[in-house]
Amino acid sequence: MIAAYLVLLIPLIGIIFFAVADSKSDMGKINVYFNAICLLATLWLAINVLNQGTILSTSKAFLVDPFNVYLIVLTAFIGLTTSIFSAPYMAHEKEIGKLTDRRLKLYYTMYQGFMLAMYLVLTTNNLGIMWVAMEGATLATVLLVSLYRTPESIEAAWKYFILCGVGIAQALFGTILLYYAAMQIGDGSNALLWSVLYTNAQQLNPEILEIAFVFLLIGYGTKIGLVPLHNWLPDAHSEGPTPMSAVLSGLLLNDALYAVVRNKMLVDGATHSNIAGYLMMGFGLLSFLVGALFLHRQKDIKRLFSYSSIEHMGMMTFAFGIGGSLATYAALLHMTVHSLTKSAIFVTVGHAAQIAGTQRIEKIRGLIRTQPQVGWGLLIGTLAIAGFPPFGVFTSEFLVLLATMHSYPWLAPLVLLGIGIAFAGLFRHIQPIVYGEKPEGQLPVKANLWPVIIHLGLVLWLGLSIPGFLAHWFSQATVLISGSAPL
């Protein structure tokens, strides 16, 4: 359990450190160190879970089970690789005069703050704390979105703030309702503890839980970026610094979905009707299709990929909604591979935008000829995110399709349509970006592409074969969520 505390403690120290540190110091590197240590701590935690199974802290405040342990490691991992990417990236931004030292300091402080919030969302056993941490994540990132202080970035941040704030307030209402339902069957002090609620799920009042779930879904769904609650997402992704987009897409959305699924498990236990599943399927499919359509008319490369995130989150939500072991397994896997791939893409996108000096798609051309590593990284990342094997995204999409075909065959054509449209939407923009002759005056930038290589390598690995321990966690989590193991 010490490991879990350590995981929380390190970013907390990080916040304090950056808050008081001298802004002249090499903060990028220090940020990497913090994240690296944190990753080690999460690995320790993971090993503990691997050996002992589910860990519940003595105060029952923290819970680490197969469902969240891999997400914790993933969070730390993406946090680390993104920080590796962000060090030279932010230095470059400072060089070209977009940032000052003070804002850089703010950036690193908030980076650690965001990481803390993420870890807290994942590790806490208390649904109330989960909400607090979720809101904390919004608060930590909102200033990062407006870091450049351009009118657009301020607008984006404001929308992000208001929409997510209002949205997450709904989640709090849902949590209160949940608490209210739990109060009726037990004592108040433990009534928000997920582990307690989960064991007593059958006794909870189904009507209240259904209503609560609506609020929770709308609330956390805003953060997931479910259509029509998604409107903040592309703005925030496109206007903030790119490392921020990477962690938003890779981590925040995942964690919001995690929160929804945790709550869905309770609702499923209580109601037996599949109302939660249907709602999630509906939202998921809608987001998936609308997100895919949005891809087509994008002019900004980061907006493009943020819509792709909406689309993928839609697919995961849909898959969790289907229920069933296959779909759940697929969704869990998809969470992992989407985070890895999307953050890798944002890294390359960040470099691409720096190379071209703009985020406008029609200005970025001939990347492969300008800087082959970035161009290939972007192209292969896009292929991976579009669901081409042997990358892991394919595996999950494959399973989702099969599960859809199995449970709701009439929805399968829609899913198929969505994947097709999304693919076309991505590639019609990416192809001209990476291919072709390089335009005048487009020069390579200093870039560290190891995060991309590592991420895509991992996604490739997951596509070819899922390592034993991860498979074990996935299937345990699947059992936990859907009640049965995959095949």
């Binding site: 109330g128 208001i162 209160i176 109060m183 209503i211």
Partner: protein, 225 residues
């Protein structure tokens, strides 16, 4: 259920619920910002009262802390900040005309009914007072959203946002006798940070569009031109 059969606490809670609901309506109909802020502070004060009442009646001392936090944050700090902002921007004399004011008010009323309707299934399992309290808090949440939808000033948005928060608090206190302490503190912390951030944002927005009208924040859109 007849109100005379209930204890004093319940009666008081119900009255508070009614008052809070009323303040929400008042806010919805307000077109002057300063008055809006005042009503918001009033709502915060009512909430503080409710919390203390609950703390007293239910012998739940940590609710006093909540009450104090509410008082500081929502009755004093945020209204003060907003007021300063409004005065600074010199928009306190502006009268923002609401389109379809009657329509909005009617909508607000039907939202209240709707809240009862939605929460009705709960009645079978709980005391009706809870239903009332929850319904009022739900309608406060919804009215808060409606307020944000209908008002164009960023200040009004903050007020709406905070009043949603008030509704939630009310629900938490009345229906569930307060959340666990750590959660309450966390929420209060979030509200504080949010309030600070709002302050920062007012500054930024002002410097970027020289106004606090959110309708002017529409650069980022997907509409084909």
């Amino acid at each position: 259920m007849n109100i005379e059969q209930t204890d004093f606490y319940t009666q008081a809670i119900l009255s508070m619920a009614a008052l809070i609901g009323l303040t929400s309506f008042l806010m919805l109909g307000q077109s002057r910002l300063l008055r809006l802020i005042f009503v918001f502070a009033l709502q915060g004060f009512l909430l503080t009262l409710t919390t203390s009442l609950a703390a007293h009646s239910l012998h739940n001392p940590h609710l006093y802390i909540s009450a104090a936090l509410t008082l500081i944050l929502k009755v004093i700090f945020i209204p003060w900040m907003l007021r300063r902002e409004v005065l600074h921007m010199n928009i306190h004399r502006d009268v923002q005309t609401l389109k379809n004011k009657t329509f909005i008010m009617l909508g607000g009323a039907s939202l209240m009914v709707f809240s009862y309707y939605v929460l009705h299934p709960i009645v079978q399992t709980t005391a009706p007072v809870m239903l009332n309290a929850l319904a009022v808090s739900l309608s406060v949440v919804l009215l808060g959203m409606l307020l944000m939808i209908s008002h164009r000033q960023a200040v009004a948005h903050v007020v709406g946002f905070m009043s949603i928060e008030n509704g939630l608090f009310f629900a938490a206190i009345v229906a569930t006798k307060g959340m666990p302490m750590v959660v309450e503190l966390g929420i209060a912390f979030d509200v504080l940070v949010a309030a600070v951030l709002f302050g920062i944002f007012f500054l930024h927005i002002r410097s970027s569009i020289d106004s606090l009208d959110v309708d002017l924040l529409n650069r980022l859109n997907e509409i084909e031109k």
